[in-house]
């Protein structure tokens, strides 16, 4: 199922590379680019 502009971005809570929890709600107040990519260090 694809998302479309104008809709709310689905909420999430994930840990970053330093173990800190990052939630979408914490990013509010600033624009953010969510960039999904296949496994790091591969060409995929």
């Amino acid at each position: 199922m694809s998302l479309i502009p104008g809709k709310k971005a689905p909420a999430f809570g994930l840990r970053d590379q330093n173990g800190e929890m990052v939630k979408l709600s914490m990013l509010k107040g600033k624009k953010a680019l969510l960039y999904f990519f296949p496994k790091a260090d591969t060409s995929g």
Partner: protein, 279 residues
């Protein structure tokens, strides 16, 4: 992606990279490339599924589930400004600019006529020399650059020279040469240490006659990553010559341009001319 981080910062955007890698893997990736990105580990790919980027992919005839490289620009209130599924790494910044209604910064070098100045280094063959014009010389170079696919790249680090073969391409006005490299190569490391590089492009056929009829061009110049505004243009020039799109699109691959400061053109045994961009 490295350049992207600073460009995004300028646009006031927090970049967040999300992949199914373990945290430790992302940490290593981050340490290695110093991207300045925040990486989130989505091992269970639940977030990927919520965003619709977890999909069946095919590689070498096998199907598996994986991430479709995608970008989501989120506004200050958590709503999606724009969405792009199946994005290539170098489309990311143009996607963001377009979504924000920002125009691309003007290309630094719009196609304009570049003058070259010719210096004769061997005047012993005066008849030949007098008929040799700048235009003939640039035509000769363009012809050679079109025919040859590979050339030797010379780099240096800590006083140690290094040479290797690269697949190169040129701009029609000859002001830039370009080649691709992975970041984890010796040549890339050398270029980071010293941007002054040389390329040797020649037409040798490995016959004895090469000594008399061969043409060898040494290009001296500065290697650098291609500015975002020029990247599409340079990419298309490069891909028009080399069928290397998968390599060029790889995460770790960079297209490097060399701004040419001087061409030293040696034809036959002793005819040497130099071409420099005229002021």
């Amino acid at each position: 992606m490295r350049d992207a981080a600073s460009e995004l910062a300028e646009l006031g955007i927090t970049p967040i990279g999300i992949s199914p890698d373990k945290r430790e893997k992302q940490k290593k990736f981050d340490d290695k490339y110093e991207l300045g990105f925040r990486f989130l580990s989505d091992e269970a790919h639940a977030v990927a599924e919520a965003y619709g980027v977890w999909a069946e992919k095919t590689l070498a005839g096998k199907t598996y589930m994986g991430i479709v490289r995608s970008a989501f620009l989120v506004n200050e209130k958590g709503a999606l400004i724009d969405v792009k599924y199946n994005i290539s790494p170098d489309q990311t910044i143009p996607f963001v600019r377009k979504a924000l209604g920002e125009s691309e910064p003007p290309a630094k070098s719009a196609p304009q006529k570049v003058e070259w100045r010719l210096d004769l280094k061997s005047a012993d063959d005066e008849e030949k020399a007098s008929t040799r014009t700048v235009n003939q010389a640039t035509d000769e170079l363009n012809d050679l650059f079109k025919r040859q696919r590979y050339c030797v790249l010379a780099t240096e680090r800590d006083g140690a020279p290094y040479g290797n073969l690269v697949a190169f391409a040129s701009t029609p006005d000859l002001t830039e040469l370009m080649f691709v490299t992975s970041r984890d190569t010796r040549k890339y490391g050398n270029i980071q240490a010293n941007r002054q590089v040389a390329l040797v492009i020649d037409n040798r056929s490995n016959e004895a006659s090469d000594l008399l009829t061969g043409l060898a061009v040494t290009a001296l110049g500065i290697a650098e990553q291609i500015p975002e505004s020029k990247r599409e243009h340079m990419r298309s020039l490069y891909l028009a010559k080399h069928d290397l799109k998968p390599f060029l699109d790889a995460e770790d691959t960079v297209l490097i341009q060399m701004l040419v400061q001087k061409y030293i053109v040696v034809s036959g045994l002793d005819s040497v001319i130099e071409l420099t961009p005229a002021e």
